[in-house]
Amino acid sequence: MDKNKVKEIIARRVAKEFKDGQLVNLGIGLPTLVANYISHDIDVTLQSENGFVGMGVAPKEGEEDPNLTNAGALPTTIKNSGAFFDSATSFAIIRGGHLDYTVLGALQVDEKGNLANWMIPGKLVPGMGGAMDLVTGAKKVIIAMTHTSRGNVKILEECTLPLTAKGQVDMIVTEMGVMKITNKGIVLVEKNPEFTVEEVQEVTFAKLIIPDDMKEME
């Protein structure tokens, strides 16, 4: 499947989760794309952990403001209904349970809802940035990622990489389907019709629970 098509499928599906009036933080990378697919019929406020709510679209070339960037240091804009604040307040919002959703990528995620997305020992140590607070504080945590990465399986029985947080993930959205983390394990609530259940299970190292009412991924 085309890489951009994969990203679009995932971002489009995540965007459907949001409801009018909600507050959402979108992580760097694929999660950022989710903003492009939020329905215009609802009012969703985006939080940027570097210090504001009401993040808008990227500015036109030549209209960038060096003092107005997103959490990835890229120029952005703010809606006229937005507000700026300092980093302590920004993380009071995040840690304090005021975010309805955080959408993040993952290196690994497991059937207990554990998440690993901030380091690969001896190789890559970018640091956790705001991810640990986001995952701990948000009401719902959605992992938006490609189902595998360069052939590596990322949905596991148990994460092997250092964790970002324990038992905090609620939902995983990949190009293959939508999975919910439950007490009993990972439930494949929606499946992309382009794949069979067997194909999804093959690249998932945790046992998928297939509900009777499994839906087609939109």
Binding site: P66, A71, F84, R95, P126, M128, T136, G137
Partner: protein, 217 residues
């Protein structure tokens, strides 16, 4: 009135072995001109507390590049390969802290609180070696306050008494660092007369500021 000082005077206040806080988020809202001057002085063995280590070739990212730093306490180093390199070669000690914890640790020192009690990092390596406090049956990590000898911060406007206003997302860590250091030096984009800032909208009261560096024109 606060002492208006030159870039040279500001940079000279930072000495070997000091712990410094530097405002900014990936360089946005950091006191770039003071940092450029500081790099000329080639101060050594600094401990740097900041959100991140920015990018090589700019602001506090270059403090690492020029090997002026022995230890960083930050939430993210992924944008500065030099930090990673020096960490792997053991030239630089890197303490990674969740961003929200870092912000509260700085605020806690400024506010005279003994610790930050946070759920962030539970069940991860962040918890290792730290005390756990149980409150009403829930576990939290005890994180200690963070202070600095000097905070280098950036404001959009300063009045001559040191009242500050920040601009948009350039605010970030600047206001809390202004409360947590023995000496606070602000690099202001614009200096105005006392009375030009409405007291209702001042973001950092002058009482936290020791020195102001102006536009040096």
């Amino acid at each position: 009135m606060k002492k208006l000082i030159s870039l040279e005077e500001a940079a000279k206040l930072v000495k070997d072995d000091m712990t410094i806080m530097v405002g900014g988020f990936l360089g946005v809202g950091s006191p770039e001109r003071i940092l450029k001057e500081l790099i000329k002085n080639n101060v050594k063995n600094l401990t740097l507390i900041a959100n991140d280590t920015s990018f090589p070739g700019q602001d506090y990212g270059d403090l690492v590049v020029h090997k002026m730093v022995k230890k960083v306490i930050v939430s993210h180093i992924g944008t500065n390969r030099e930090t990673g390199n020096q960490m792997h070669s053991k030239e630089l000690e890197v303490v990674l802290v969740p961003q929200g914890t870092l912000a509260e640790q700085i605020r806690a020192y400024g506010a005279g609180l003994g610790a930050v009690i946070t759920p962030t990092g539970l069940g991860t390596v962040v918890e290792e070696g730290k005390e756990i406090l149980e409150v009403d049956g829930k576990r939290y990590i005890v994180e200690k306050p963070l202070r600095a000898d000097i905070a280098l911060i950036r404001a959009s406007k300063a009045d001559k008494n040191g009242n500050l206003i920040y601009d948009k997302s350039a605010r970030n860590f600047n206001p809390i660092m202004a409360m947590a250091a023995d000496i606070v030096i602000v690099e202001a984009d614009e200096i105005v007369e006392v009375g030009e800032l409405d007291p209702n909208f001042v973001m950092t009261p002058h009482i936290f500021v020791n020195y102001i560096v102006g536009d040096d024109k």
